[in-house]
């Protein structure tokens, strides 16, 4: 088994004149929970989409477990997109059917029991679900696969604090020693204790890639506080009333 789950070198992505990712070098091992942090528009989603094979990089190389992006890499990646892609008329068990057909590693029993503990009715249609409930169902689907790499794009943004704890616990209990979880978010304080390491993205570049405890002992402050310091936006001064 390849020790390096993700390897990128010189990775770049341009949308027209805009550089979304700029020369990203990244190497990620197994058995880690990693926070992908950065302000809006810093390239988090672009990076995740490239890893999933949804976007083609403009330059550079990517390998997942030593393989180029393709059918093999997709089989071992479980991806939670930042928006819902299921049809409104579907209910949770319809979606389980879809996942069962698509992914050999999907564990339906696990998904059903997770839904139960979250109080989600499997026959309720997506249409009548709240935003938070929809997010929970999708997370259940994604975490019920026995994948090697989980790429979670903003998994906790829309759910209430109790569900947030449940989700973090789900992530903690379900990931395995061979697997790695990458969580993109800007709600750092909530997830900081569960992270091994963090990647700070700023304007498409990696500013920092370090373990949480190293940052804390070097800086004497939490990752959340460091983030606020690095990315503080200064209000425009002046203006008369």
């Amino acid at each position: 088994m390849n020790e390096k789950l993700i390897e990128c070198s010189g990775l770049g992505k341009r949308y027209g004149a805009k550089r979304a990712l700029d020369c990203v070098d990244l190497s990620v091992g197994r058995g880690r929970i990693i926070g992908l942090l950065g302000p809006n528009g810093s390239g988090k989603t672009t990076l995740i989409k490239i890893l999933c094979g949804l976007l083609q990089p403009t330059s550079g190389k990517v390998a997942i477990a030593g393989e180029a992006i393709g059918a093999k890499s997709k089989a071992i990646i479980s991806y939670l997109p930042d928006r819902t892609y299921f049809a409104n008329w579907m209910n949770a068990s319809d979606m389980f059917d879809v996942f069962e057909d698509f992914y050999a590693d999907f564990d339906r029993k696990k998904a059903e029991s997770m839904c139960k503990s979250l109080g989600i009715e499997p026959k309720e249609k997506l249409k009548t679900m709240s935003k938070g409930t929809k997010e929970k169902v999708q997370l259940v689907l994604v975490m019920s696969r026995k994948a090697q790499l989980y790429l979670l794009d903003e998994p906790i943004a829309g759910v209430d604090p109790a569900a947030r704890d449940f989700i973090l616990n789900t992530i903690l209990t379900n990931y395995n020693q061979e697997g790695t979880v990458v969580i993109s978010t800007h709600l750092i304080a909530d997830i900081e204790p569960v992270l091994d390491e963090v990647i700070f993205l700023k304007e498409g570049k990696i500013m920092r890639h370090q373990s949480v405890d190293d940052i804390r002992s070097e800086e004497g402050k939490s990752v959340d506080a460091l983030f606020r310091e690095i990315f503080r936006a200064h209000p425009v001064e002046g203006g008369e009333f």
Binding site: I33, V194, K221
Partner: protein, 119 residues
């Protein structure tokens, strides 16, 4: 166990201190088995790798020892436990003095007040 994490210091360090406190105060009695890494990590809501590091520190301090097959056992060496308790007490005492100093009392006054309090 109640877990409290502050922002300013490494998480593993805080976890190992709190585990040590749990051992000293008898939450985990001498000779008992500590919960598994995964269980403790879930309780505290932290990454298992971080908890692992905290437990390794406990082993290094001699407060717990790894059993070959089944997790970790709290030490029965009373000397080690007493030493850890004393270290913890010293911290509490210096915290008290520091707090009083911030309020503008010198050491003698602080001691005087402590006496007053225990009457």
């Amino acid at each position: 166990m109640d877990w409290k994490l502050t922002d300013d210091r490494p998480i593993w360090l805080q976890l190992s201190e709190q585990l040590a406190r749990g051992i000293i105060s008898g939450v985990y009695p001498p000779g008992s088995r500590l919960p598994s890494v995964r269980e403790l990590a879930m309780q505290a809501g932290v990454n298992p790798n971080t908890m692992q590091r905290a437990l390794a520190q406990l082993e290094q301090d001699g407060l717990a020892k790894a059993e070959r097959t089944a997790g970790r056992i709290v030490t029965e060496d009373l000397q080690v436990l007493e030493k850890a308790r004393l270290a913890e007490a010293k911290i509490k005492a210096s915290e008290y003095l520091h707090g009083m100093e911030q309020l503008g009392y010198d050491k003698a006054q602080a001691v005087e007040m402590l006496k007053e309090e225990t009457k």
